[in-house]
Symmetry: C2
Subunit: 302 residues, 2 copies
């Protein structure tokens, strides 16, 4: 029988908790809204405790910013989040102590990336990216078989991109973007709320042939080109609410090829772009399954 793990996808809006060993073996699952830390952590512990005797470890994939450095005194903390009450919360420590189990801990995107590595669209790779395009834009993944960490967690959403001079609004001005730090960085141009600000309606309600989508694909393709030139991933996974617009994938792939213009001589890109830029294999399950994978990886050290 496979070892069982508790997986906790800690999101800013909701928490998803599951007990299992992988996508085909989930014994129980629950979700609840993210309220204040004490109450929310209490519900996590209450749920997981029922299965305590069967569990080998727990994993937590958390919204952030978090401290994922095991050598740091604030390892496992949610650090400077503006979310009320959650700054400086010792999420991994409190849950681990209450349950007396080892904890694997990382960011939500790195968790999802690890889930995809273990059971999804990144199996067998050692250098790949997982991007999520939704309320914000975040990124994670692996380089050389290790989850990406650095000085802080690299989030990828705030890179700067060239603007197309023909890309102007009704007022003949370029869209200024919505990022409070940078205006028209990637996130400021291409996250869900940026689309809503620009087009005056929720992006889910824009028809698939709306001109918003080729432009969105252009911005995302520019970002992907920069990531390819910087990290040379073996594959790029794109998830999140905006990427449910499946018409974006062929548009992005074509523009990535055009923008690279033959510079990267890799058959994986030149001949097989359909398998190079892909949706997550686990779909919306990547988060909680990623948390289970974090538990397993931490315990087994793979």
């Amino acid at each position: 029988m496979a070892r069982l793990y508790g997986g906790i996808e800690a999101g800013g809006t909701k928490f998803v908790c599951a007990v299992g060993s992988g996508p085909d073996d989930i014994e129980a699952e629950v979700q609840f809204p993210t309220t204040e830390p004490e109450e929310t952590i209490g519900r996590v512990v209450e749920f997981v405790k029922q299965y305590r005797s069967e569990l080998a470890a727990i994993g937590i994939a958390s919204f952030g910013p978090v401290d994922p450095d095991p050598g740091s005194p604030t390892y496992g903390f949610i650090t400077t989040t503006p979310k009320p009450g959650w700054a400086n919360t010792d999420l991994a420590g409190e849950i681990g102590r209450a349950l007396d189990l080892p904890v694997g801990f990382d960011t939500d995107v790195n968790g999802a990336a690890l889930g995809e590595y273990r059971w999804g669209a990144a199996q067998g790779l050692d250098t790949f990216l997982y991007l999520t395009i939704g309320t914000g834009i975040g990124g994670g993944g692996m380089v050389g078989g290790q989850l990406m960490h650095g000085l802080v967690h690299p989030e990828m959403g705030h890179i700067r991109l060239p603007r197309d001079a023909t890309d102007r609004g009704a007022d003949d001005k370029p869209f200024p973007g919505i990022c409070p730090f940078h205006g028209d960085c990637l996130e400021g141009l291409a996250c869900g709320p940026a689309l809503e600000a620009r087009w005056g309606q929720s992006p889910e309600t824009l028809p698939p042939d709306h001109r918003a989508w080729p432009l969105e694909a252009h911005h995302l393709a520019l970002a992907l080109v920069n990531f390819v030139c910087t990290l040379s991933p073996q594959r790029i996974l794109m998830g999140g609410g905006v990427m449910k617009q499946r018409q974006l994938f062929p548009l992005i792939r074509r523009q990535v090829l055009e923008l690279l213009n033959g510079y990267v001589q890799a058959p994986e890109i030149l001949d097989d772009i359909d398998h190079y830029i892909v949706p997550p294999g686990l779909g919306s399950r990547a988060g909680v399954l990623g948390a289970i994978a974090l538990a397993e990886r931490n315990l087994e050290g793979y």
Copy 2:
């Protein structure tokens, strides 16, 4: 007594070969122009052979593109270079067999990065970048303690950047850049030949207060911001001929802070940018010392 290694810095213009164990212990060194592969490799072997009995291993830091994947059938090859005669040259294999010594092999930038990690400005770090701004723009470094590799070697020089609308030439048009693939990508805007094309004179002859330098710093700062947001390095080392213009460093640092605008909450950046963006500690010795470090790392597996 420290183990001795042979280090070979294989450049497109010249080869530098040294025998030693580190920056304070170089027993012999030679350099010669890069001619055709047979002759050039012959000179390498002839030089190193004199010290053969004292050597534990050799290291090669090579111009590229190269294949640095030990699992690949073309590991150690220079692959698709346009340099006449050098495409598909089994550089590591030929030298290693002729000398019957183990070979550590990587790109020139990763070699220099490793030299800086071992003895220079990246000691004690596990995630950092080494950029070279010269005839071209290249990058390498470490992520999580491993030299950066991926689908192909990520070279970093070809990322796309925003252009400043006020940045226009005498003809009131934006400088188109010189990259044959992308026009105004980072390399197309900011490498040495791009500066020469734009200002009509060799960059070494431009005075330190020429308006070329704030603009060069702006382009490089935009690139650094993208690398910081993508990889979150603990430090960025900048070498190469263009960076001998030391007035660039304070300009770049200031613009990086302005462009990040407080987004990355790391004291290493916010409070200590002078030690975050730095020249290589080994200066122009990083290349050949990096080759010695590749020999050592390959043998000792650190």
